[in-house]
């Protein structure tokens, strides 16, 4: 079965759409584009005209939101609940203070500035306000109303992208009509429909920019989602501090645990992303937590040591 592929850039990252029936590629691609345009308009943090920006700009007021933004907020709150707050949508202020306040291509282009202010000749330490916690958000799922208290800023970046991959895969399958589809948004992967014989081949790497034909581990997955979270990408510097995009809500600063990259397979890309992000934040407790969730996972320590968890296939053949 020949697999057809289309790739482009959207949401500040790479998009890949694969279909098992090449005749449906154009329709699948169009459907994915529409979903991503809707997602960008609903919950981009970097568009002043997005619904999310409007919500963050109106603290203390109950705002009725679109079904898509309501779904994204619902997903983010579920993520926070299931991870005991390790993945929290109220990190918006913290990540902005850390310096990630624009599309990452522009953040990366700034270089090592702005430097942190100096006090008595020494660079002061970066500090952020305490992350308020997801319980601060008053969200009525049925009425689709959201109240963001003053001083709280929502960021749906982590769960939002994975949710978008799930939605895009379903829309692509519906548009293609037959066969199976795979959608990758910057390495967050969702599959739908009938997979190719042997499953979808997925190369596991620390950076989604690694070419699919590069050396490294390849797994075969028939359905669901695969997501990778890593502190080795989306890094920037402020003064002498090297920062990354995975915020630990406990400290309001980038996570500093023993794992630099975590990949998880789950029933959906959203659940895989929630687990991989939470594992980075949870640090040493991540392995036991992933085992308790029965989620197959691959964890890379900061020194390069790799752990295979649950039903994740170990290339050496040794069960975890």
């Amino acid at each position: 079965m020949a697999v057809a592929l289309e790739s482009w850039k959207a949401l500040g990252t790479s998009v890949h759409v694969l279909v098992t029936d090449a005749h449906g590629l154009a329709r699948a691609t169009s459907a994915v584009s529409e979903v991503l345009e809707d997602v960008d308009a609903a919950y981009s943090r970097f568009r002043n005209d997005s619904e999310l920006s409007h919500l963050n700009a109106n603290p203390g007021r109950s705002v009725r939101v679109s079904p898509l933004l309501a779904s994204a907020i619902d997903a983010a709150q579920r993520a926070a609940r299931l991870t005991d707050g390790a993945v929290d949508p109220t990190i918006g202020h913290a990540i902005r203070v850390a310096g990630y306040d624009d599309d990452f291509s522009r953040v990366a282009a700034r270089g090592p500035h702005p430097a942190l202010p100096r006090e008595r000749g020494r660079e002061i330490q970066l500090r952020a306000w305490r992350v308020p916690g997801w319980q601060a958000i008053r969200f009525d799922r049925r009425a689709r109303t959201v109240l963001v208290p003053a001083g709280v800023e929502l960021d749906l970046g982590s769960t939002g992208k994975a949710l978008a991959a799930d939605l895009a895969a379903r829309a692509a399958l519906s548009a293609a009509g037959t066969g199976g589809v795979l959608v990758s948004l910057g390495g967050d992967i969702a599959m739908a429909g009938t997979p190719p014989s042997g499953g979808w081949a997925i190369r596991v790497a620390e950076n989604s920019r690694v070419r699919p034909d590069a050396d490294g581990e390849v797994i075969c997955v028939p359905a669901g989602g695969v997501a990778t979270s890593s502190t080795t990408v989306r890094r920037w510097t402020r003064g002498t501090a090297v920062l990354h995009h995975i915020i630990d809500p406990q400290t309001s600063l980038p996570a500093t645990g023993p794992f630099r990259t975590v990949t998880v397979a789950a029933a959906t890309c959203l659940d895989a992303n929630i687990a991989s992000t939470a594992a980075i934040v949870r640090g040493e407790a991540a392995i036991d937590w992933l085992l308790s969730c029965h989620l197959p996972a691959r964890l890379v320590e900061n020194d390069g040591t790799i752990h295979y968890i649950g039903r994740w296939p170990d290339p050496s053949g040794v069960a975890a």
Binding site: R170, N207, S230, V233, T261, I274, C293, G310, W312
Partner: protein, 104 residues
């Protein structure tokens, strides 16, 4: 105190009957009203058994084809635990259409 005439007694009994009926009707209205307000204010959460059902539903829904973003996503995010895939990944070169999963 003079004894009541039959007419006075009948009027008193009628007044008592009306009061009893009014109090009962008022209590019923109050119970219905308070119940409605309570039901609307406290939607409740799924029990453990309910979550298992939701999880099953999520798995089923994830394989269906729908273009309704809101309905499909809400079913995705309704389960009360992270859902493992029904089939675990395998190693190998038998799969098709390689893409890379990595940080971005």
């Amino acid at each position: 105190m003079d004894p009541l005439t039959p007419t006075q007694r009948d009027r008193g009994l009628e007044r008592l009957r009306r009061l009893t009926f009014g109090a009962t009707a008022g209590a019923l209205v109050a119970v219905v009203g308070v119940s409605y307000v309570a039901a609307a204010s406290y939607a409740g959460t799924s029990s453990a058994n309910g979550s298992a059902t939701a999880a099953d539903t999520t798995t089923t829904t994830s394989t269906t084809t729908t273009t309704d973003s809101s309905s499909s996503s809400s079913s995705t995010s309704s389960s009360n635990s992270l859902q493992p895939s029904t089939q675990a990944p395998t190693t190998g070169s038998s799969g098709s259409g390689t893409v890379t999963s990595g940080g971005s």
